[in-house]
Symmetry: C2
Subunit: 221 residues, 2 copies
Amino acid sequence: MAAYANSEHTKKALIETAGSLFAEYGVKAVTTRQIAKESGENIGIIHYHFGGKDGLLDAVLDYASEEWRDGRLERFVEEHAKLLENPLWHVEFLEKFVDYFYDMLLSDGKPLWCGTLIFQILQREGEISDRVYERISRSIIGLISGIYRQMTGDKDTENAYCWTMSLISPAVLMAVDSASVKRFSGTDKIPDSLIHKIKNIATINAAAGLTILKTRKLNND
Amino acid sequence: MAAYANSEHTKKALIETAGSLFAEYGVKAVTTRQIAKESGENIGIIHYHFGGKDGLLDAVLDYASEEWRDGRLERFVEEHAKLLENPLWHVEFLEKFVDYFYDMLLSDGKPLWCGTLIFQILQREGEISDRVYERISRSIIGLISGIYRQMTGDKDTENAYCWTMSLISPAVLMAVDSASVKRFSGTDKIPDSLIHKIKNIATINAAAGLTILKTRKLNND
DNA sequence: GTCTATAATCCGATAGAC
DNA sequence: GTCTATCGGATTATAGAC
């Protein structure tokens, strides 16, 4: 089935070229001609495979977000739910969770543009943005806020949101800001040593944050 | 000078409308007709005042980044440099710095789109992006990394970068991700109680991070 | 300074050959 | 499945009236 294989190759080349260009210049700023030229394909084939530029964007977003929609993060939390039951095991849970979550965001082999493009789409209003938000942002924030509630018993929404942000924001910012990563490291890959350090700090900060939010009652001081 | 006043009013209306639209849909996706229509002005006047769409973008970026280019953050650090000399005063310095920096990012009265647009421009390659990076990102990261070096004596670039990220990333992410703020709070304004909590956590985390990076030698474990 | 009509360019989509 | 020529529409920029 050489024809089929070639067809898949064509689609993949279009998706990866389009995603990289979309993330850097914005979806509207990139022309189908430019995508065709840079991927070595032609304009007509975009409409044949994806029905047009909008269909190609859908395919690109599916590609960029697949590991965030297959439920693997939820499954990871379920598999380690036992560690949430005893406060003595909370730091161990946080270590494991940060390790898994930060790897998903920063070193899962996906191109750097994926996070940047998802972020870009989230900024605009409309149906695509709402879909991406529901399936990714909202489910992650909901999951981590649930972990916070289970660990602390604190029902305060803002406390949960703050704790979630202090846990994930260094990684999310790096995943979303591919330009800074390139400018700092000089490459398209975040150095492993940097990921290792940032995981360490995030784990310790998250553990400290638990205590602070529980004891200081930040909402009342 | 009614004519002059009107002219300034026209320019301001164009800048604010354009900035808001640029941030949400991407610079290329917004047409000069749309800017003219939504601001109540006309297309011709954009070219009269700004020389075209590119000139308008320059003006918008100047407006969005003015407090980051006037040296007030550097001046703030200079004025409190005494607190860096004695480790006993470091937490006090961090409290004051986080308070000042987070207010600059999150509640200085500037519209929410400013951070989002600056971030968008930083993602693309080219002269404008490099200029924004040098004048804003690089100067902030350099300033805070310098504070880290002065406090710890640690010359490691990655350690300084990690510490800087863990200090600023919650605020930067909120400043840059206006869509999340709107979705979480339901308004265009970040709730003061949320800013207060996030400042608190950031200060404590930064103080803890100092100790960790100094003692644990994260680069070697 | 402000506005409108128009010129020159470029885009997404498609028809139809191969 | 792949490619090219072309159509209709939209965009920026501008010329010129007021």
